[in-house]
């Protein structure tokens, strides 16, 4: 891609700000990406609408307090319904091993736990975003 990759970092659910999401936003900026950070306690509808208005390539979801099995599939379904199924959905935060497979089956492309580095995530994004004009 000959333009910066655009990423939305969003926090659904009842979480407040967390270091992880902010660190990721700054880290991806340093990797040359354009990162939109929307604030905490976002509804499913608002996250999807922001994806549309901001024309993002990647949606990074962060959730610490549980609820990922509820929110993440809802967001992915609504993205598809709104014609935004091409967006690469990634998850971060604390997600128990037993939930990983089912989330991936529902369309979360990759899950990055607390041990992941920014460059892991950035490299994954660069390899997996859809190409231009597709």
């Amino acid at each position: 891609m000959n333009r910066p990759i655009r990423v939305l970092i969003a926090k659904p659910g009842l979480d407040g700000h967390d270091r992880g999401a902010l660190t990721l936003a700054m880290g991806l900026r340093d990797e040359g990406m354009e990162v939109i950070y929307t604030g905490v306690r976002q509804t499913v509808e608002n996250i999807v609408r922001t994806c549309s208005q901001e024309y993002v390539d990647v949606l990074g979801l962060s959730l610490l307090s549980g609820g990922h099995n509820y929110y993440f599939p809802k967001i992915i379904d609504l993205l598809k319904e709104k014609g935004l199924g091409h967006i690469l959905v990634l998850a971060g935060g604390i997600i128990p091993n037993e939930d990983r497979e089912s989330l991936k089956a529902k369309g979360v492309k990759e899950i990055f736990g607390p041990g992941s580095t920014i460059s892991d995530i950035a490299n994954y994004i660069r390899e997996n975003v859809r190409g231009e004009d597709s």
């Binding site: 910066p4 990406m33 950070y37």
Partner: protein
Amino acid sequence: MKQDIDKLIAGALSGEENSLSCLLAMVENDDTSASRILNAISPSLGKAYRIGITGSPGSGKSTLIDKLVGIMRGKGLTVGVICVDPSSPVTGGAVLGDRIRMEQHYSDDGVFIRSMASRGSYGGISKAVGVSVALFDAFGKDVIIVETVGIGQEGIDITRIVDTTLLVLAPGWGDSMQLMKAGILEVADIIAINKADLGADELADSIRDILTLSSRKSVPPVIQTQALNNIGIEDLYHELENQRGKHHHNEKNGR
């Protein structure tokens, strides 16, 4: 490509946000597409009121926009907002964090918020912003607000793109010398001293001094606001309405 653009324009006209969003991306990413798109929509331009909001970093521009949009929505006006933030000159990346102040409008169908990074060349971004404003105009937004950082030489020359330029300053930003150097007082149609809760008198005095010394024929209104506390916003809106009458839409846009 031509067909793509036609299809997207038809989609955007029927109210599809994805289509409008895609057109905005094309405008931002590719100069040739920008020119094509502008050609295609140029017959339907000229209805919107275009407001540029610029000023020192952190002075409260986004928070002010949030409150102004609230008033506009109350009057039934639809609004497009474009927020430009600087790209890192080193990595080319950016954190685009203006929309976070406008959360109350995320779910409102009458408001479309788009963040843009300056991507290094202010010449390039100026054109992209100009055509993006035109897109919102063509697709029926009644008011278009553009937020840019920077006052003075750095930053984009927003005054050429909009009908009215609002300069937002906040106490503690600088003294008369800096105001003078920045030069933007000369082009602002309205000046807001935001964060007036922190004490605006000193800054108001400096601004008055500079304006008295300047060669401007008409002195712009200076309004004190507290965006965070929703104070002074009605006055500011009223001034924006006043200014609208003064600027003829097509005179300034250089098209």
